[in-house]
Symmetry: C2
Subunit: 264 residues, 2 copies
């Protein structure tokens, strides 16, 4: 099986043009097949504010009303995605920007209204709903897919979808065709033994170690869903998951010398 | 050679949700290989106004300063493009939204400053600069490319490019691989004998007829560049060019019963 590296970058890089440029330079230089998933960043809120759209967050998630859906469709799917694609192209990486609507790559459904109405938030049923063949065709053409955190409902409406979810569902789906390594980039250098010391990276965590770390309360509440996601991806066939700093992407992927490697 | 239909739609449809929906229904139902190019529409100006960006037009073309470039990148490449893609997907047409940066499909150069500085306006050198192989690969995957009127300079910057130009350069480039029919859609039913009578469509114009029409001042100043472009495309290998109303796209393409057919 061919190797495929999937990297998810978040707002902390997207909001900083110099860090973004430096990351894209490193990412473009990575050998082999690769795929990038980007989040949103503060730019959507900043543009939304100018347009008179006030962000509503419930439990850390943006509530996507009709106006906000237009906002994120244009900012994530247009501004951020195309700037990332253009910069990768400038580095000789043949990037192609996608949302889940493009080539019907990630069909989703509007999240059912329960305690909270998240509006136009898209849930992906699972890796089996991903259109793997079209992604394989793009990769075999030498293209590097760059995903914005958007999906669609197959009925004409775009949906706002969490970038971590998109990265993990793509990784799991593509694990049927490739040996997939998934990197969640993050504002710290990895999972830290001491939250205040960015040099206290735990190099590797398996299930037993994770159980210990939770017992000792070393991993924070914010890190637990990331780690749970990572283990879920591994259980569904992803070869390796690394949590680390995007600034160290080459060390993480080419040398295995940075970040926290999650294994079963 | 396989047939490929390339359709360009402009602002008059994009600005009207019902007309757009109706057109996309018809377009999705067209048999065979196809490609859509869309313009911008008034939505960019409307959003720009809210953001405090005043459109500056010189000789009918938008001057693209840095702020306007961000605006059109998000509105054309994000909002308009993804809404069109999602609606086509809902009709079972496997659309994939692209700008010229994606897959380096349309490299361009920033227009040189002469009498007017158009800012971040992109000029395409010619059909030979189009990345035909990647478009062919997408079409052979059963995908329908949907182009926003944006290109890139291969140095990391997006560029604003006229949709008519994109449609004609793509048609010419793809004519090396396919039997290409190019439809310029338009707010009238075709080239009219009497500008005030939308039923006075001239069914066909060849070079000799065009010379006559110009002599008789039947064709307006606004129509001359469109017709010149059409003849240029035909001279470079495009099989047929039709100018007509997007509302009649099925009649134009499936039956050849609407619009003005331009031939050499």
């Amino acid at each position: 099986m061919q190797e495929l590296n999937i990297v998810k970058i978040g707002g902390n890089i997207l909001d900083n043009p110099l860090r973004l440029k430096s990351f894209l330079l490193d990412f473009a230089a990575l050998p082999g097949l690769k795929l990038l998933v980007h989040g949103g960043g503060k730019i959507a809120s900043a543009i939304g504010q100018k347009l008179g759209i006030t962000p509503v967050m419930v439990e850390g998630r943006r509530v996507t009303d009709a106006e906000t859906l237009e906002l994120v469709t244009m900012v994530y799917g247009g501004l951020v995605n195309k700037q990332v694609v253009a910069q990768l192209q400038a580095q000789g990486c043949n990037a192609i920007g996608l949302t889940g609507a493009d080539a019907n790559s990630i069909p989703a459904t509007k999240r059912p209204v329960r305690a909270v109405d998240y509006g136009f938030a898209g849930d992906v049923a699972g890796p089996e709903s991903i259109n793997v063949n079209v992604l394989e065709a793009l990769l075999q053409q030498g293209l590097t897919p760059v995903f914005a955190p958007l999906t669609h409902d197959q009925q004409g409406t775009m949906l706002n979808t969490n970038a971590d979810t998109i990265a993990s569902v793509l990784a799991t789906a593509l694990a049927t065709k490739y040996q997939v390594k998934l990197v969640y980039s993050f504002e710290k250098r990895g999972v830290l033994q001491d939250a205040n010391d960015n040099n206290s990276v735990i190099p590797a965590i398996d299930k037993e170690k994770y159980r210990q770390l939770k017992e000792e309360k070393v991993v924070s509440a914010g890190m637990i869903p990331k780690l749970d996601n990572a283990f879920a991806a591994l259980e569904q066939g992803v070869s390796a998951v690394v949590i680390g700093d995007a600034a160290e992407i080459s060390a993480i992927l080419s040398e295995g010398k940075a970040g926290t490697l999650i294994t079963l």
